[in-house]
């Protein structure tokens, strides 16, 4: 922590609201949220942000087993190898398990890191660390990448810059949250099931089937009531900030791109099927639609990967098929839509799982190896980085840590690696320490 920064401003406790208030009058409606960020934006010497790259961040909560997916050890002993067979991929000599047939076929569309060392085997901590690049620190909550994007780059359309699909991020150690950046930069969370015909989103789809005309009428009335309450030209700065949020909210509720983004039913049937008619598949498709509609960072969360028991059946029957179906579909779809170069796709999970299979036919938490996948935004497809030892327990070469993966995301998203923000109490906070994965930049 940069505690000795020369400029502490401890007396200057402008809240974000104050900033907003002062910025509000001078900037056009709808685009104003990030205006007050000018003092911190691109503060560090990382150059201009390449703001045209967006991100879809897949989070399989619980800890996806690397042994049983992308790093099989067919020569290991029975108690390690497990019952799953091994298949060829499109790259000679690279093998996955039988659970990943489509990923094996499309291996040239993404890059696989086999030598990730998570240095952690706790849920919750993992969500915070993997999404922010920082271990937990009770006196300082570091922001996740999506919140940093929201703070640094702001709105691109009526839709918020950072959206999380599904509720499957563990918040117990502030995982996936904006931390020091403030609630303003929290993900806009959409928990609704996407694998349905009529998709509605809480707080965005009008409640109680309300007609748009009535929403308009309410807005006009609110305008009038607010105006009558206002007795002078000047008003407290906090009111201006609220006005801005209300404007943005109304715009979001009524903007055509909002309706369009969520109208997943307009996708061709064949494409919806290619993603797979699963929660995960349709969320991934929704993520692409959101990116197209101006969202910068979408977290797609998926539950149920903590396979302490019945690991192989659990993966085979429930979890892995939908990802194996949907992720390649997304990469193909992005390419066909011309979005691949401007969309970074990341798949992370809590950590790896134990080499040894436990008596409940499960694998437990494993702190020193695991996998990560990246694609798009110039990530070289088909590159397999690093490897692990005979039991898959320790990285053997090209070892990388969580901060390296997160630094790669910063780099690809155009965020300076030494980005420093000012906390609400005036402390300068360097958000990240670490270099990107060399093979990915």
């Amino acid at each position: 922590m940069a505690l000795s920064h020369p400029n502490p401003h401890p007396n200057r406790t402008h809240t974000r609201r104050d900033w907003l208030g002062s910025a509000a009058t001078s900037v056009a409606a709808g685009l104003t949220i990030p205006a007050f960020l000018a003092p911190t934006r691109l503060h560090a010497n990382g150059g201009q942000a390449r703001s045209n790259v967006n991100c879809i961040f897949i989070w399989t909560q619980g800890g996806t087993s690397h042994h049983d997916t992308f790093d099989p050890k067919p020569l290991a002993s029975d108690g390690v190898r497990g019952p799953l067979s091994v298949i060829e991929t499109a790259i000679p000599g690279v093998h996955f398990t039988e659970l990943c047939p489509r990923m094996a076929k499309e291996v040239n569309r993404f890059s696989l890191l086999r030598s990730w060392n998570p240095k952690n085997a706790g849920h919750g901590v993992a969500d915070h660390w993997c999404m922010s690049g920082r271990n937990i620190n009770p006196s300082l909550i570091y922001p996740c990448v999506g919140s940093v994007v929201s703070q640094q780059l702001g709105f691109k359309s009526a839709l918020p810059p950072f959206v999380q699909l599904g509720a499957h991020v563990d918040r117990s150690f502030q995982g996936g949250l904006p931390g020091v950046l403030g609630l303003e930069h929290a993900a806009f969370e959409i928990h609704a099931e996407a694998n349905v015909d009529r998709f509605s989103v809480r707080d965005i789809t009008p409640p109680l089937n309300m007609e748009l005309t009535r929403i308009d009428r309410r807005r006009d009335l609110l305008d009038k009531i607010d105006r009558m309450q206002r007795t002078a030209d000047k008003q407290p700065a906090a009111y201006d900030a609220l006005d801005e949020h209300y404007k943005t909210a109304f715009k979001m509720i009524t903007a055509p791109e909002t309706k369009q983004a969520f109208d997943i039913a307009t996708e061709p049937e064949a494409l919806r099927n290619d993603y797979g008619r699963s929660s995960f598949g349709q969320r991934l498709l929704l993520a692409r639609r959101l990116i197209q509609s101006g969202v910068r960072f979408v977290t797609v969360s998926d539950p149920g990967w903590d396979h302490h028991q019945d690991c192989f059946n659990g993966l085979k029957q429930h979890r892995m098929p939908q990802v194996d179906q949907a992720l390649p579909a997304l990469l193909i779809d992005l390419e066909q839509q011309g979005l691949l170069d401007s969309t970074l796709v990341v798949w992370m999970t809590d950590f790896g799982r134990t080499p040894k299979i436990n008596p409940a036919i499960g694998r437990d938490h494993w702190a020193s190896s695991g996998f990560a996948i990246m694609a798009g935004a110039g990530i070289p497809g088909g590159s397999i980085i690093g490897d692990t030892d005979a039991d898959g327990g320790q990285p053997k070469s090209n070892e990388y840590f969580t901060e390296n993966i997160v630094a790669t995301m910063y780099h690809k998203l155009g965020l300076p690696l030494d980005l420093t923000v000012t906390a609400s109490d005036g402390r300068p906070i360097r958000l990240l320490e670490g270099e990107p994965v060399r093979e990915w930049v």
């Binding site: 502490p8 609630l183 000047k234």
Partner: protein
């Protein structure tokens, strides 16, 4: 220059007087006489590398005979002066007025401002042919001053370019090893000092990521080169300690766009004094008011009050700058209700800041209810208050809300008060069943409710927490030792909660803005060294029980020296206690000698009620972060101590004040003020009371998880279960993860706006068949009456004529009366007068 400082030219001086009088500038600049003085009037430089800063001041004639006023009101001409050494063989002087010793003897320098010259005698002594450079006293300050050991440079986690230094030189041994021995001693060249890597880097003679830090011909270069030439001597194991650091001027009343050179003086424990301006780090703490250069030249840039922090060695002090908001202010209409109003008035006078007028009765009623008990008044309550013509009705209401009316029948808000303040303190103390279990959470909650219901003195409340032991299921406060369960966490949270001091920095290094070192940190932690817990192995209702015990042994040791730390209050003498060190801590904490405790509580309650603490952030109290109005703080602290730490008394003192009852509408003259309470600072209603307000306004209660219907949100005891409520989560109900007040952030966000504008929770409540609108429609009352009721239920006031007409018009033109009233209620609940305490 000529135009800015015209008083030195007689003709323009006259013109200035006319202008000044026309502008009613008062005495600040209207001077006919030019009494220029130097500070210090004569200088003694001791030792080879001694330097000293001169200040050239013009004393304000209005301050004649008053040294405080003379210091505060003087004008600084240091940066406009032309300095010249009349004896360059003895002393040199830089263009900014910094003296450097050359040889022993008596010398003289002159300073000339606009034709007027004064001379300053300088005595140089103690110069020797072979000077020694003290690592601690001479070298480290220059390294710190040059920024080498800033957190973003060589003191970052892994250093920079292979060189690792300690943050702000808190670890001289490490610094010595890095500089003298590190990298196989390649940073120093004792044979040919000028070839030393550290000098070539610092002067950018070789590429240096940090650029040039000082010049080849500078005093700092000479010091560093001499240290190397003498064989890079080690740090003295028991270095001279600094007893005191002074900045002058300590306070200056100024105008915008004025400069002021600062000067710092260190007094060592042996009484020796030394001008250390050249090695002091200056930082502006409020750049909207005053900026400062690295050499200590401050410049006022805005109105208000700001400070410059000066750091040297392990000391930090501040210089305060006051820049009045206007040329004059008329405070004749200010009638003080309470002693604090008089103090506030003096501040308004000093800052020439025009306060707002008093708020109206309806605004006061709603404000007082929300601030004191976190709820809206009932409709009957509102009508009765607005109708009352009792001139003391505000005071009576405050007394009733705080249970101080003296009549049990009138003190009907006691439970609401206890619930609301338990919520506030539960957030800080972090009551959470995820950590404590259901039983522990309830035990702590019930103890807290009882404490606030009976108005337990704050000192007793805190003592009970700190000295608690026994079962966490049956003794509520014992849970304090489960929430944080090791000496360092307990030290940090106790210091932050009850002293408002953030000790965290000192865990690893000397606090950069404070006196606190690792000694202070681990000495404080030692109070908690003997607390332990025993876990029950039972199942059933006492399963998971923990008993907090105090062992007879257990110590905390210093992480660097390994020394066993004596339990020591911050910046005080060690304490002992025969049976339980925590008792000694509690006695010290809440004792008469320690004002820090009362200051912290006063500051928190000032912030809760007035919207901003006298010190901000409210839990970051330290000498370098002074109160915006020190007299106001002192008065409240004194009063709070006298009352025996009676919080209700404290709240009453503030709420009865004129300051608290000012309007929130800013005017042209005070809109820029965010610190001095010139108008009431509006606050968003926090998540729980807001949900209760919505429930009251719609007459539809929220059913909370694991609670019977009818429990209000402010009564919820737990962080874990009520985080399942979408409304509370969206509006920032705290997770109780941190003792920091900042956990409950004040910012609103888009999700909140969407939630109230378009959310199903609000819409369903408005449209509920058992709700207020349904009842109104069923009652068949006239439209005007219904509109009035909706206004009273939300804004605690009736509509004005225009509002009534507009609402009537809207309802009658709606598709149905029900829809009309629903939309009206919706709009009122989304209006600012509803969402804010104002």
């Amino acid at each position: 220059m000529y135009r800015t400082y015209p008083m030195l030219h007689p003709a323009i001086c006259l013109l200035w007087i006319v202008v000044a009088m026309a502008m009613n500038l008062g005495s600040l600049r209207a001077q006919s006489e030019c009494n220029l003085v130097a500070q210090p009037a004569q200088v003694t430089l001791r030792g080879n590398f001694a330097q000293a800063q001169l200040l050239i001041q013009q004393i304000d004639p209005s301050s004649a005979g008053n040294p405080v006023a003379a210091s505060e009101l003087s004008s600084d001409f240091t940066s406009q002066s032309v300095f010249q050494s009349l004896t360059p063989e003895i002393v040199t002087v830089s263009p900014s007025g910094c003296l450097t010793a050359v040889s022993n003897g008596a010398g003289k320098v002159s300073a000339t401002v606009e034709g007027k010259t004064i001379e300053i005698p300088v005595e140089v002594t103690g110069l020797v042919d072979a000077p020694q450079v003290d690592f601690h006293r001479d070298l480290l300050p220059l390294i710190t001053r040059s920024g080498c050991n800033a957190g973003s440079c060589h003191a970052s986690q892994y250093g920079k370019g292979g060189l690792v230094l300690s943050v702000m030189a808190f670890d001289p041994v490490l610094d010595y090893q890095s500089l003298a021995l590190g990298a196989r001693s390649r940073r120093i060249n004792t044979i040919n000092p000028d070839e030393s890597l550290m000098l070539k880097k610092a002067t950018a003679a070789v590429p240096h990521g940090g650029g040039a830090r000082f010049a080849l011909d500078s005093n700092d270069y000479r010091i560093m080169a001499r240290w190397i030439a003498t064989g890079a001597p080690k740090p003295n194991p028991s270095p001279e300690k600094i007893a005191r650091l002074e900045v002058s001027p300590a306070k200056r009343i100024s105008r915008v766009a004025q400069t002021q050179q600062l000067r710092t003086l260190a007094t060592y424990e042996d009484g020796q004094q030394r001008d250390v301006t050249a090695w002091t780090r200056f930082d502006a703490m409020d750049e909207g008011v005053v900026k400062v250069s690295s050499s200590g030249l401050a410049q006022t840039v805005g109105k208000g009050q700001g400070a410059v922090m000066a750091r040297f060695g392990d000391r930090a002090e501040i210089a305060t700058f006051v820049v009045p908001f206007a040329d004059s202010v008329n405070l004749e209409s200010w009638v003080s209700f309470q002693p604090i109003d008089e103090i506030a008035k003096s501040k308004f006078q000093e800052l020439r800041l025009a306060p707002a007028g008093l708020c109206d009765d309806a605004t006061f009623l709603r404000r007082a209810f929300l601030d004191a008990v976190g709820a809206l008044p009932s409709l009957d309550e509102t009508r009765a208050f607005l109708a009352s013509s009792d001139p003391r009705k505000r005071e009576l209401l405050i007394d009733r809300l705080l249970g101080l009316s003296g009549d049990a029948k009138l003190n009907t808000f006691n439970d609401q008060y206890a619930a609301y303040w338990s919520l506030k303190w539960s957030d800080l103390i972090r009551n959470n069943s995820a950590v404590l279990g259901e039983s522990g959470m309830w035990a702590l909650h019930n103890w807290m409710r009882e404490s606030f219901r009976t108005n337990k003195p704050m000192g007793k409340f805190v003592s009970e927490l700190i000295t608690a032991k026994g079962s966490i299921f049956s003794n509520g406060p014992a849970n304090y030792y489960r929430i944080a369960n090791n000496p360092t966490d307990l030290a940090e949270s106790t210091a932050q909660l009850f002293l408002g001091t953030r000790l965290q920095c000192a865990k690893c290094h000397h606090h950069p803005y404070e006196r606190y070192s690792q000694d202070d940190y681990y000495g404080f932690a030692a109070f908690f060294a003997r607390v332990a817990s025993k876990n029950s192995a039972e199942f059933g209702i006492f399963g998971g029980e923990t008993v907090v015990v105090v062992n007879s042994g257990g110590e905390v040791s210093h992480p660097k020296t390994g020394a066993v730390m004596k339990p020591t209050p911050l910046q005080d003498n060690p304490l002992e206690h025969a049976s339980d060190r925590r008792i000694a801590l509690a006695e010290w904490l809440t004792g008469k000698e320690n004002a820090g405790f009362a200051r912290n509580i006063v500051n928190r309650y000032t912030a809760y009620l007035l919207g901003r603490g006298l010190v901000e952030p409210i839990d970051d109290m330290r000498s370098t972060n002074p109160p915006s109005n020190p007299q106001l703080m002192d008065h409240l602290v004194n009063d709070f101590q006298q009352s025996g730490f009676d919080v209700r008394h404290l709240m009453r003192s503030i709420m009865r004040s004129r300051l608290y009852q000012l309007d929130s509408q800013p005017n042209e003259l005070n809109a820029d003020d965010t610190r001095f309470y010139s108008h009431y600072r509006v606050k968003r209603i926090a998540a729980e009371p807001l949900l209760d307000c919505i429930d009251d306004a719609t007459m539809v209660r929220t059913k909370h998880t694991n609670m019977p219907l009818g429990k209000r949100a402010v009564e919820l005891p737990d962080a874990a279960t009520n985080n399942t409520n979408a409304f509370l989560v969206t509006f920032g109900k705290t997770k109780r993860a941190s003792v920091c007040e900042c956990e409950r952030t004040a910012d609103e966000n888009l999700a909140q706006a969407l939630h109230t504008l378009n959310g199903d929770i609000l819409s369903s409540k408005i449209a509920d068949s058992q709700g207020r609108v349904a009842a109104l429609v069923a009652s068949g009352k006239p439209t005007d009456v219904c509109v009035e009721e909706l206004y009273l239920a939300t804004l605690c006031r009736g509509p004005n004529t225009q509002e009534l007409a507009e609402a009537r018009n809207f309802v009658t033109s709606s598709p149905s009366p029900a829809e009309g009233y629903q939309d009206l209620l919706w709009a009122l609940m989304n209006s600012k007068q509803f969402l804010f305490i104002r």
